[in-house]
């Protein structure tokens, strides 16, 4: 009996010694250090020739009243560029594209009652302005040859309410759980943001680069989110890609250094 206990105790000591040795060995093998890394990502456009940047305003569909898209986008991009580029941010009282768009609005009208044909004509004419090299060269001359950022912005409310299949677990008389499938009407609202950014050389009026972004967000029935805050949420998602066009970005991650 005594010898059995002694032998058990010896085995336990041996096991402990082995575990300790194994832990030490593993500790020695696991000599690694995780470090954060930031790898550089060059900007898409070489903007070294520009000392100034002008956010010239954006075309938006007439009658879109939830968010005042052009001024909000101009202000947001100006703020972002201020902290992400060394270029001087020009801030005219009125974005230069505004006058041209106002002339079109006077011609076609504005607001909810605008006919589909007039809306389409407005879009076509606005597109012509965006592609008018001479128009942008003149703007460039007026603002001392900056890099010009312009384009189109669209923001729409989307009603995604409808029936959705749901599964519920209920217990029967025998206390066994059962899965019951059913349909429930869910009120859901979403917003989508479409932005076509155009980068124009203010010295020549020529388009240097175009970038198209689409973002969407969906909210549940219990979430009350205003269109404006949703607009900012969606803009926040696409901003890194916008900034990546004209300023170098960094890809953040981790790597494992070995010893």
């Amino acid at each position: 009996m005594t010898s059995a206990i002694g032998s058990r105790s010896e085995s336990r000591s041996l096991l402990l010694a082995l575990t300790a040795a194994l832990s030490l060995a593993l500790g020695a093998c696991a000599s690694f250090v995780e470090v954060p890394v930031e790898t550089p990502l060059q900007s898409k456009l070489d903007v070294s020739a520009f000392r100034r940047v002008l956010i010239a305003g954006f075309v938006s569909d007439p009658g879109e009243a939830d968010v005042d898209l052009s001024p909000e986008t101009v202000r947001l991009l100006q703020n972002q560029l201020r902290s992400h580029t060394k270029m001087q941010i020009l801030e005219p009282d009125r974005p230069p594209l505004q006058d041209a768009l106002d002339r079109l609005r006077t011609r076609f009208g504005d607001g909810e009652r605008l006919s589909k044909a007039d809306r389409e004509s407005f879009r076509l004419e606005a597109e012509k302005v965006l592609q008018d090299g001479e128009f942008w060269r003149r703007i460039g001359e007026e603002f001392q040859n900056p890099l010009i950022v312009t384009g189109k912005v669209g923001f729409e409310t989307q009603n995604r309410s409808g029936f959705q299949t749901e599964e519920r677990v209920v217990r029967g008389p025998d206390n066994r759980p059962r899965v019951i499938r059913g349909n429930r009407y869910l009120e859901r609202k979403g917003f989508s943001l479409n932005a076509d950014f155009v980068f124009v050389d203010g010295r020549t009026g020529q388009t240097l680069h175009k970038e198209k972004f689409t973002e969407e967000v969906l909210y549940g029935e219990d979430q009350k989110v205003s269109p404006l805050s949703s607009y900012f949420e969606l803009m926040d998602r696409l901003l890194p890609n916008f900034l990546g066009v004209i300023s170098p970005q960094k890809i953040r991650g981790t790597r494992v250094l070995l010893l």
Partner: protein, 112 residues
Amino acid sequence: VAVVILALLALLASDPAASAAEELRFGVDVARKGLWQEARFRFERAVVLDPENHSALNNLAIALEQQGDFDKAREAYERALKLKPKSLYIQQNYDLFREADDKRNRKQKRKP
């Protein structure tokens, strides 16, 4: 005692693998502080001293990646993996590097 210590130091200095391990340790220390230029220098020395040291090559690859020297980083990762094909850490680093590199290349291709 002094003679023994000096002899040991001399032995250490003449042992390239031991010197490489020293460089490696110092490189890791400075890399943790974000001093990647110095870390790169140390890892490069470690590789020169011990070209078969997979850890030194892995670390050098990370330092090169951090500094934007992507072609050399890829080469160093591949050499490290050739020396230690079953290292999960090196493989993971290399996979993450390739993922980031793909992202960069996609952006480069879309340049006007």
